[in-house]
Symmetry: C2
Subunit: 432 residues, 2 copies
């Protein structure tokens, strides 16, 4: 009768179980790194995005007026919200501030594989450190999270660059260059023909010769060559910063996943330093899986004290695609440790066993539908129950219950007052 | 510069840590019961609420037109969404369907203590069983979740009733009674004077004498008396069903928390059988903490096959109030197992120790801000680090690191190549 809105998804238990397993890896890894979970609102004032005109995001906002006439929007990303939160408690928060959160965001955009209008991200950010070790910790978390999912260096790479390298090289030209337009051109270059790419660079203010020269220099990705070409302190400092980040990443075990790629520019204007994107090494997922980088000016632009910041936000949909193609996505199915089957009026005894098994943390179901033996067994099978505990009136007369292994079909009887007894996770194997 | 929208909350790490601990109890308990997590959209078609006119919820919707002119709304509750999802896959889902999810909902209503415009609930529902054991399992989950939070029968009670008792008694009058209006009057009765209450009942079609009689009968709560008064099969069946639910709750360990209270009616019209509300036994939280019940007709009204259903949805804000007043709300602070302090150029060795401790699942931070010894120690203190591992250049020359207990201030030195070694969670106590 009612249908779901286009670009929004329902996750049924099997798919959700796989997603939860993946999210747990991202969050547990963040927890071990000392990132602290925060909770953030779904709605913010639309001005947080519309004040800064020219951003593609503005056209994609689910914005509306609330019943008091506030211009509000479903948040399309987390960064402005965390910036607002940092500004609001700037004095009391001990720095570095290390925050993590997993939640949906919303953008009205074209729906395609791995892209939805409601999409989930795990955002990980550090505020209050300009040190290369902070950038490297973000890279290390991302690498640990991906390897925790079962991915390896054969599956993903971080293409890493520095905003000031592109900006500094462009600045070194005599001509007036629209740096942001040129950086956007670089960001799109892998989707453009050489001629189209050069046309965009020319549109940004370079001559035809300069466009070709710049394109080749950036594609080459040789840091020494780039530094010599620009000959400016800004580019020299950026190259040094990038090297320092990579050195720290080496200590943190993440260097092996990083490739210097000066064509990695990130579309968003707020990045100021190191930027990186995660790609499928095999090239099967053609778009960037996710990206991140340093954004040292944002907090100040939100009215706060100058506060350096660096972060990353893996989106779950593209990450799932990568994991699926690498064969490491968790199985999309529910699991059940025990089904306690009742025959006749054995509910009280069954409930005791159910309770004791649940107290041990196991997933335990029992009959709540008044079903026959066969219907209960079918149901136990449908929820992938590993062990069925059969509590029958006749067995109970002999003070016994039957333990059935669902994979083999084997079963054995045990004294009811010894089940589960002091066993943490009794199975057919233990009891036979 | 930007402020948060009224009725929406930011959760900083301390408060969020306490909330997460509480949510984990609700969700882990549901997992042990075999409730399967689902994921659901924040937006639905507004018609899912507006088609059914007269509901208070409609005035509180955050509804708007999306960029394609769809009438959409931020979802104010989960039940219609799960009903839609059940209908969409009715054939393939094995029954009983047992679902759980935790997420925010949105209603434009008056903000007050424990009530926000963005509010979080854990929804737990069973579809496909009309058995009293299903109702009892919902009660048992709720009781286990609350006792898992540290609450006891001194803190909370479930006031339980049955829609057909009120409906059946009202039906037994000769006069034409607006049953839904009378039930809403009962639902509000504890906030009204006796005269106001009776006026509402008279407005619903009872005479003054009948209103007084009905009010006393319901307030009395004697099931036998009510059954005799009505003398209809409907009321007799409802009383029997309620007794059966309580009998099953006895087997499941939840009976002791249940009080029969025929004035418990639940405001929502879709309830059809047993309904219940959780109250603060001490009466300090005056409103209902949360409620639930049976809604057997909803799936069919959404175009599905007739499918009985029962569920409950604890809201986290009122639950937190109850826990706080009972003194069992988790501490609102972050915890840290280890801070690995670097003195001089010891990053590589510190990173090895950090990595090994994180591999064991511990929360471990280290310097990512280039700080002095004192500043690092202050930071370690601010994040409540239990143990500080000092990796100093001089110590390392002697192949040692220093282990400092932050509570006592005591410290000891251990060989660096034996730390953490094969210890799972080395502390000062173990090493001194």
């Amino acid at each position: 009768m009612y249908d779901r809105i286009k670009g929004f998804r329902d996750f049924y238990p099997g798919e959700m179980a796989a997603r939860r397993e993946a999210i747990d890896v991202l969050e547990d890894t963040a927890r071990e790194y000392g990132f602290r979970e925060i909770g953030t609102p779904a709605l913010e004032r639309a001005e947080m995005w519309t004040d800064k005109s020219g951003d593609d995001i503005v056209d994609e906002l689910y914005a509306f007026e609330d019943q008091s006439g506030r211009h509000v929007t479903l948040t399309p990303e987390l960064t402005p919200t965390v910036a607002r939160m940092v500004v609001a408690k700037q004095q009391e928060l001990s720095k570095p501030i290390k925050w993590v959160s997993t939640r949906p965001f919303w953008r009205y955009e074209q729906v395609q594989q791995g892209r939805y209008r409601e999409f989930y991200q795990t955002n990980v950010d550090i505020f209050g450190s300009s040190e290369p070790t902070a950038d490297a910790e973000i890279l290390a978390w991302a690498a640990d999270a991906l390897t925790g999912l079962g991915l390896t260096g054969d599956h993903f790479e971080f293409r890493i660059s520095h905003r000031d390298i592109l900006g500094g090289v462009l600045e070194s030209y005599d001509t007036e260059v629209d740096t942001e337009a040129a950086i956007r051109a670089v960001d799109k270059s892998d989707k453009l023909s050489r001629a189209e790419y050069h046309d965009l660079l020319i549109g940004a203010g370079l001559s035809a010769d300069q466009a070709a020269e710049f394109g080749d220099l950036i594609a080459g990705g040789d840091l020494e060559e780039v530094e010599a070409f620009a000959g400016t302190e800004r580019v020299t400092a950026a190259v040094e910063n990038l090297q320092n980040v990579l050195d720290a990443a080496e200590d943190f075990g993440a260097r092996e996943y990083c490739t210097i790629s000066l064509e990695t520019a990130r579309g968003l204007d707020y990045y100021t330093g190191v930027v990186f994107e995660c790609f499928d090494s095999a090239g099967e997922v053609s778009r960037s899986i996710f990206g991140g980088g340093r954004y040292d000016d944002l907090i100040e632009s939100f009215g706060g004290q100058p506060t350096p910041a660096v972060g990353v936000a893996p989106g779950h949909a593209t990450l799932a695609l990568l994991c699926q193609r690498a064969g490491v996505w968790p199985e999309e199915d529910v699991t059940t440790d025990y089904y306690v089957l009742q025959i006749g009026d054995t509910r009280a005894e069954a409930a005791r066993i159910v309770g004791e098994l649940r107290d041990r943390g196991h997933v335990v179901e029992t009959d709540i539908a008044g079903r026959s033996f066969g219907a209960q067994l079918d149901y136990a099978d449908s929820i992938n129950a590993e062990t069925v505990v059969i509590v029958g009136e006749q067995d109970l007369e002999n003070d016994e219950v039957t333990i059935k292994d669902m994979e083999s079909g084997d079963q054995t009887q045990v004294p009811v007052d010894e089940f589960p007894g002091d066993r943490e996770r009794p199975t057919f194997e233990d009891l036979a």
